[in-house]
Subunit: 325 residues, 2 copies
Amino acid sequence: MRLKRKRLEINEYADGILSGDKIILSRAITLIESNLDTDIELSEKVLELILPHTGNSKRIGITGVPGVGKSTFIEALGILLADQGKQLAVLAVDPSSQRTGGSILGDKTRMEQLSHHPNAYIRPSATGNSLGGVANKTRETMLLCEAAGFNHILIETVGVGQSEIAVKGMVDFFLLLMLAGAGDELQGIKKGIMEMADAIAITKADHDNIQASKRAKAEYQNALHLFPLADSGWQPKVLTCSSVAKTGLDDILHLIETYYDHMEGKLDKLRTQQNISWMHESIGFMLKQNFYGNSEVKTDLPEIEQQVGAGMITPQAAARKLLNL
Amino acid sequence: MRLKRKRLEINEYADGILSGDKIILSRAITLIESNLDTDIELSEKVLELILPHTGNSKRIGITGVPGVGKSTFIEALGILLADQGKQLAVLAVDPSSQRTGGSILGDKTRMEQLSHHPNAYIRPSATGNSLGGVANKTRETMLLCEAAGFNHILIETVGVGQSEIAVKGMVDFFLLLMLAGAGDELQGIKKGIMEMADAIAITKADHDNIQASKRAKAEYQNALHLFPLADSGWQPKVLTCSSVAKTGLDDILHLIETYYDHMEGKLDKLRTQQNISWMHESIGFMLKQNFYGNSEVKTDLPEIEQQVGAGMITPQAAARKLLNL
């Protein structure tokens, strides 16, 4: 049970965050996750104060379909980083999650060792019924974590929908976890996600699975060579690893270092572009939120949607009709 | 020089289109391409009348970077179809085009033989400065062509940007043209486009290029097998062809037939989804058009964009600031 607490003063939040106080950090994140107008106003002021202290982290996105071993992987990689003295925050974007339902990261016990590590901070996904809202909250949470001194931010997402695009738009490096043996498991990955990856890690490359993982690695590496490069010129790599046998994790950390070396002088440009895109997406999101929140639109939408689906009215005319409400 | 003509009556447009009159069809398309409020109103009424007579065509999108031989390919494939007695309309989405500048399809002489074929109708891309606007016009033009009796619609796009996503959202089958010999030429293809393709055709597979094309075919076929399938379960295929030697074109037509066989019973669902998505995208587009067209937004946007890019204000706060104007 969570206690309803009084809000702090703006400066108390900012000072607490900047001094690395995890309790105040958590309370500030709760403020960001709130949808109350007064909280939104307060959180924007807090963000304004801490903003000059953000940006000093490696921002890493991690995705993969359920069953790929994401939590185990993040825990293993996270412990490795934390043991090296890195300050690590683990966040998640999962618009389907409910704090109380067993969502990704929702159940902290799944990363029990990492969650008790003094250098690590784990925060479950914000709740909310729209991806845009949830993703915005995660992005702002990332900024708070950076201001609190975390220099590695891992952002987890579920690999089955649009949230990957949102996460790709807030991280520097995007890692896709996959299983060897292609086939059905992979069909959960949505189109377009593989092409967004800066690296693919074939997980569970242990025991009987080592040979299959090596083959998968070679196949994906060949495939990725055929696909267009990112603007930065980075060629995505494929690695294998085992979170249980603790193999291949060092290689992944090394690859991430290589990536940041490659991005030397290019990272600012990437982040500037991300910020500007994010603003325009936020505008689009807010405009739609206002529009679809309108009670007349809500009433008329189902019928108009049906007519459009049945080809009785053009999508364009239907859109205009709804906008004229 | 185009002559300024008087508008026809709604029924004259509709009757002319339904009787397959190409001159009236062209005038109706001009009406759709107009941005005058009175024309928009008139064109929506025409669309309403012809809508029950649409949907009876194979809707095929074709993309590929400049240099891949798109025009030559479309002309060769188009002649093959038209000679078989198919009624063929060729349209284009190219938001960068100006009717007078040498855009794709803008210069009809590039498809001279096809443009004189009695079974073919070629219409250059609508002009406009926003992709959403241009794509909407192309989509509605497609409906007019269907009502006019064209049973094959080829929609060309340029392979270097967002217009592919718009075209993917209005066609049944999406064909990506590529060259053998990967490397630099391919870098023009944007990320995500390859995964949208229902088929890839390696063009210019003739003379010295035959072996390289065969290798490219095998490589891409292997790569595509690793990638997630579309909801329909269709496995994208790779073929080779030469528009000059006229080889492989029959295979492509045969593949398209196979695709439609595969989509038997699934095509309606795909088109219903496309219609509904298109409506929501149109809503988003119109909302943004209104917003970014606002004079205060126009004045303040550049400075706010700069502040966001420099990390002085969060994208979220900037969006809210602009929306409050």
